[in-house]
């Protein structure tokens, strides 16, 4: 089976000359479909930069990246927008919900521009928020807001879900709940889930763990057995 993503010598440099920062150095890898992949590493290790590039939010300085057989590095701005619109879901540390829209409306924001979306209520039910459909972000806890963000990301039935520090702003109980939801999405919808995190314990729930240091991929670990998110301690 064709992998979800493939990269070749992917590099990203900010600035020029002596002041240049090498955020990503020649990363070559493959990410199979329908896996939960955790990207680990300290701050500045390049994991977020890597996620941004394959998520279509940023462009590499050199190297290539493919989504299936589509070369992301050769896409126009318009094509990248279309890629994000059709194939990719994002979950961020600070939720990024529209405060002026209710939970259901935040999800509908995406379903209105998607081809074959699931019903907003269905997406919110998947994250356990069927009781909070008509609540505004201001009326919800952080964990609930993050679950709305996940519902919004999965409602368009994306092939891939990108999660940048999804539990970073949450306490451990709420964080475990969010990870559980991500795990369910992967299991029930077959969505490839990429999670960038500081929290090493999260690695236990992954099919595959990618360790980043100084902009380089240092190690790839394939877990023989995966832990249930409910058992993760951090």
């Amino acid at each position: 089976m064709q992998p979800a993503f493939r990269t070749e010598a992917l590099s990203k440099t900010y600035g020029e000359g002596p002041a240049a920062v090498h955020a990503l150095r020649e990363v070559t890898l493959e990410i199979p479909r329908s896996e939960v992949v955790v990207l680990l590493g300290p701050s500045g290790s390049g994991k977020s930069t890597f996620l941004n590039i394959i998520g279509g939010l940023d462009r590499p300085s050199s190297g290539q990246a493919w989504f299936g057989d589509q070369n992301l590095t050769e896409m126009s701005d318009r094509a990248l927008t279309q890629y994000r619109r059709s194939h990719v879901g994002f979950v961020f540390q600070f939720y990024n919900l529209m405060p002026s829209l209710t939970a259901r409306e935040n999800v509908d924001l995406v379903t209105e521009i998607s081809h074959d979306p699931m019903d907003a209520g269905e997406a919110l039910r998947l994250v356990g928020l069927e009781e909070r459909l008509d609540h505004f972000p201001a009326q919800m806890s952080g964990g609930e807001q993050q679950r709305v963000a996940i519902a919004r990301a999965i409602a368009k039935r994306p092939a891939v879900l990108f999660c940048d520090e999804p539990t970073g702003a949450l306490d451990s109980t709420t964080g475990r709940r969010v990870l559980q939801v991500l795990n369910d999405v992967n299991r029930e919808l077959g969505t490839t889930v990429l999670i960038v995190t500081h929290a090493a314990a999260t690695a236990a729930m992954a099919h595959r763990v990618l360790h980043f240091t100084d902009g380089q991929l240092r190690e790839t670990i394939v877990n023989e057995t995966r832990a249930d998110p409910a058992e993760i301690e951090w």
């Binding site: 941004n52 939010l57 940023d58 701005d77 318009r78 927008t81 279309q82 994000r84 619109r85 059709s86 990719v88 994002f90 961020f92 540390q93 600070f94 939720y95 990024n96 919900l97 529209m98 405060p99 002026s100 829209l101 209710t102 409306e105 935040n106 509908d108 924001l109 995406v110 209105e112 521009i113 008509d134 505004f136 972000p137 201001a138 009326q139 807001q145 919004r152 940048d164």
Partner: protein
Amino acid sequence: MALTVLHRKLFRDLWRIRAQALAISAVVALGVMVQVMMAGLTDTLTVTRDAYFERHRLAQVFEPLTRAPSSMMEQVNAVPGVLAAEGRISGFGRIDADGGEPVQARILSLPGPAGLNGILMTAGRKPIAGRSDEVVLLDTFAAARGIALGDTLGVTVEGRHQKLQVVGFARAPEFLFMPAPGEFFPTDGRFAVIWMERKAAAAVLDLDGAFNEVLALTTRERPRKAVLADLDRLMAPYGGGAGYVQDQQTSARFIEEELKGLRQSRVFLPPIFLAVAAFLLNVTITRIVQAERREIGLMKAFGHSGAEIAGHYLEMALMIAFAGALLGSALGVMLGRSITGLYMEFYKFPYLVFSMHPGPFAGGLAFSLLAAALGAAIALRTVFRLTPAEAMRPPAPPDFTHGRVGFLATVTKVFDQPGRMILRQITRQPVRSLGTVAGVAAGLALNMAMLMIYSGFDHTMDVTFGFADRSDATVSFIHPVSRDVTHEIAHLPGVLEAEPTRYVPVLFRNGVITHRGELTGLSEDAQLNRALRPDLEPIALPAQGVVISRGLADVLKLQPGENLTAEVTEGRKRTLSLPVAAISDTLLGAPAYMRLDSLTRAVGEADRITSVSIRTEGAPSPELLHELRERPKVAGVSIKSDSLAAFREIADEGAGQMRFVFGAIAFVLSFGIVYNAARNAFAERAHELASLRVLGFTRGEVTLILAGEITVLVACALPVGIWFGWTLAKLIARVFSNELYRVSVSFDLPSIAMAVLVVVSATLASILMLRRALDRLNMISALKARD
């Protein structure tokens, strides 16, 4: 003094928001500019007028009479309150330019030893004593007619042809604004004054050893009106008794009316701009304080007091206002000078005493700083309330629960998610949204009202010269002539129709209110000169009574059915009591129409007329003008198309410049408001917009969401602005209308369209600038930021 760190932050912050700061400064500048400009204009006009009147000793009391012996001047000088007096010789003649139409000219004796109604020589010299053929000519007439020093004028006075040599050109305060007799607007080539040696003037006007007008300056101790009453009594046996004071003199009165209008607009215009500026600063500072919560928390944690930090943001607002006030002062002086120049030209002031008191600058500066401080102060209350710990935590998401119930909930259901976001954003901060709507509406209204006033002027011209006065030319006579002359003129070459008119100078009176004017007698079946109803249909003149114009009705506070008293100031000086039959919608002047036969009967004269209106085949031909020149009783011929064209030229120049100025003002105001609103919305919601981009919304779609909010607000502002503009136009029309000229406004679609276009283009310009900012929006950094 070393710059504190806070000051450095201040300058960097100002640089960061420079586009917004500039837009707000521009609005402040407009307010101060209008203030300074209007102040400069009114001060300069007032001071110049006063200086001109005083230097040339313009009489404070005028007493025209038929004829009095020179010895009477002794008694005039003995009247209590008379400081200086002079008996001058005044009459009319006719200048016969070769081939052109005859022009009626005022003939005056040169100022005597007391120097009253002095003249300002602009070229050449005064006549040499004893040279009765040398004259001084009004310079504006000479320039318009291409008459040079040394030229000879053919002048007919009292039926006698004279050859007079022009040896000098002059101007006089008495003739700043003087329409030719029987005309409404002053046109240089249509109004002439000839000054002659006293003896020469007396000779041509048959006034040897006599005078026919008293000019007097009065002492401060005695009111002018009291002096006038004494003179009226003294001169009654000599055909006097209908004198007037300086305020009622045409030239002086017109300038005073104009100044009155300018003073009023000076009061109500600037506050609009300053209120808008205060609002913009309030919204912007609120937004900056919100965005800098963390910094504020930090500064508080480091030990800065709430007042110190509030002072920092207050300084920002004050600097923006200060820059605007400086710019506005400079622009105001520049524009004031240029517009003052236009006025000078229009009123024929020979010199300009440019006057600029420090008051308007200081006032403009003080008021703009006050407006800024007020706008900022309301925003800065939050700074005092924030505790450091609270400030350093991200704020809770803004609460939109207001949109869940009631009317709004029903309405929002109709829209898609972006539509709902727009609607809820607008309704969540109703005060801010209303302020934006009000500000944009104010800009629109101001521009629209001014455009309406200018097109109202065109309307006045169209109604007056298309419906009320449909003649092509008017032939006027020096003294009343037999009505039969009408038939004679009707048979001249090229004349299609001829109608008689009789003007009788009167003093209108209603109780204590008086007004100098004239009764206009028209033939029963008049077609060329008509009184009109508001729907432009002619009013049939009643056999008894008078139809008065709206202007006169307003001045005298008269209603149909009431009685108008008219004291005739010539001939037998009868006092008439005339029932007001109807009020006509006359826009120029303040006429009172009567049937010719009843008017002549009332004044106790045979059927005599003072002018004949004619309609001609094409323009009046040289043959026709030649025939008229051959008739010594003809005082002058005014050709409507000529005088109209000449006046339009002057008016269009002024109106053109003012249209441009107000268009620019409306654009800057609308742009300032719209751009600020859009910029603030963008700054507050940058990461929302970035999220949308990440979710797969295109740049166009995101621009639409951001532009949607401002577009909805502008769309709301349009009808409000149109309504407000219409109200404002009517108000301005009322303020500027007087008995000389009524400003008429109609719901003029081109004016509305133009004003709307300015607002829409200002909106588009700000959306385009925003689009550039959106294109530079960095999705990743926006998303990493906290809510």
